[in-house]
Amino acid sequence: MTHVSNLQKVMDSGKFGVTGEIGPPRGADPDHIIKLARELKGSADAYNLTDNQTAIVRLSSIGSAVILMKEGMEPVVQMTCRDRNRIALQSDLLGASAIGVRNVLCLTGDHQIFGNEKSAKGVFDLDSVSLLSTFRNMRDSKKQLSGEELEAAPQIFLGAAENPFGTPYEFRALRLQKKVNAGAQFIQTQAIFDMDWFERWMAEVRKMGIHDRVHIMGGVIPCKSLGGARYMKNKVPGMKVPDSIITRMKNAKDKGQEKEEGLRICVEMIERLKCIEGVHGVHIMAVMWEEMVPYLVKEAKLLPRPIL
């Protein structure tokens, strides 16, 4: 299997991968991405560029990928099935691959009711699983979904997201297997706060032997404030935040060190991820706090990033 992306090389060589996340701006001005890129340069192997996250209109993922590549950094383009049907998804993939994007993350996408275009008609022609199998067939068998031959196959390192905290519990590991069968090569999980639950899920994954067929990267989010933690716990669908974290943030708030405590929790999470068998990397989603990623990676003793 040829290594098409730096992230793939890092994780295939057994090193602990790190990916960051940059939320493109809600406007056409690229400077926001350029400024962030320069700050984060060198602190991760690749950077996710969200695709209209929570159905809120933002600068497109592929567009921001171009800007990021100009800065010499490797993007991970996200594709959701909410906004485009199978024709647009496949043509966007060919386009992304043509301009040098090597990592693609396939998502179903949040329902449009969560965003700022509530009356939009969600497409959902495909979903994350059929998107993975479509892209895998385009890459490996050079065929379009309808079976027609492609002139040139895209070169991509395919990834998917997974929420280990949904219920029913055993169904989640089953669904991960389905995504791997569909062609996922790396998985970025939902933000982990309940580490015990995640470890039990990883045990289930190891039992099914999935962990050596795919690179699983644990997702972490540093909490900026107690309110942020509570919002995550109650408002974000499918997120499990144990009360111990909430109480820690509450004590920190009394001492006025919410930010430091949030970062300390995040570093602890990364440390524990490093020693879970089967976890090949960490995906740091510092939402609206991207500048802290270098600090977090340094604290977790994951610097300097390997250049292969």
Partner: protein, 234 residues
């Protein structure tokens, strides 16, 4: 049954501005059974419109009637004079009934009195729930008798989305996540293997996305041999 909901009275009143003789037509089948357009609802709408008339003095005169099934030409024929003599016709039937009258009497202005909502079942008295999208290709046998196309907000074909938690849909915490129910039922039926099969995307051409649809029953057609009855597509 086809389920519908009466439009707000003010909206219907706005449609009738400037009209004199108004005929309100109900239907005794789906919308009656669904309490949206039966004889009772016709009486209610007429008395509400009379109240608006008394308040704003539009000078409306009302005629109210109900037909057995408004989507059949033969059932609309008996009230033909009433339709012709009326300036405006408010149909409380579903979209089919309103358009049957509109197509039969093109010069007449036919106003819909209800919004036709969905194909639904009564969960309890007074609560109607959508369970079928009439999407043209039923897949329910693969999902334990629960239709994911109608009952999942994203009509997904491959298992629950990331946002479904505690068996509830992320979009509306009251509705059960269709895929959670499918999982439970397939587990009950011992067919969990179906859950791991990667399911091909749905062929939407059989639904409205493939253009307006038509069913042609050759055994019922009374027509000369050469007319095949199939749709002609470029």
């Amino acid at each position: 049954m086809i389920r519908a909901e009466r439009k707000p009275v003010s909206e219907i009143a706005r449609m009738l501005a400037g009209k004199k003789k108004v005929l309100v037509v109900g239907c005794k089948t789906c919308v009656a059974i669904g309490h949206a357009g039966g004889e009772k609802e016709v009486a209610e709408l007429v008395s509400a419109l009379r109240l608006v008339n008394a308040k704003e003095g539009h000078g409306w005169q009302f005629e109210q009637t109900v037909v057995e099934r408004q989507c059949e030409k033969e059932w609309v024929r008996p009230i033909e004079e009433k339709i012709i003599s009326a300036d405006a016709v408010v149909s409380l039937a579903c979209g089919l009934g309103a358009q049957t009258i509109a197509d039969m009497y093109p010069i007449k202005q036919v106003y819909p009195g209800v919004n036709t909502m969905f194909l639904g079942v009564p969960e309890e008295q007074g609560v109607f729930v959508e369970k079928c999208l009439a999407c043209g290709e039923c897949v329910m046998f693969e999902t334990g008798g629960i239709c994911p196309v109608a009952r999942c907000a994203k009509s997904m074909r491959n298992g629950a989305c990331g946002g479904s938690a505690d068996g509830k849909c992320e979009v509306n915490l009251e509705t059960d996540c269709a895929w959670y129910m499918i999982y439970e039922r397939l587990k009950l039926q011992g067919r969990l293997d179906l859950m791991t099969k990667v399911v091909e995307p749905k062929d939407w051409s059989k639904s409205h996305a493939g253009g307006r649809r038509k069913i042609v029953r050759k055994d019922l057609l009374i027509q000369p041999t050469d007319r095949t009855g199939t749709e002609v597509k470029k």
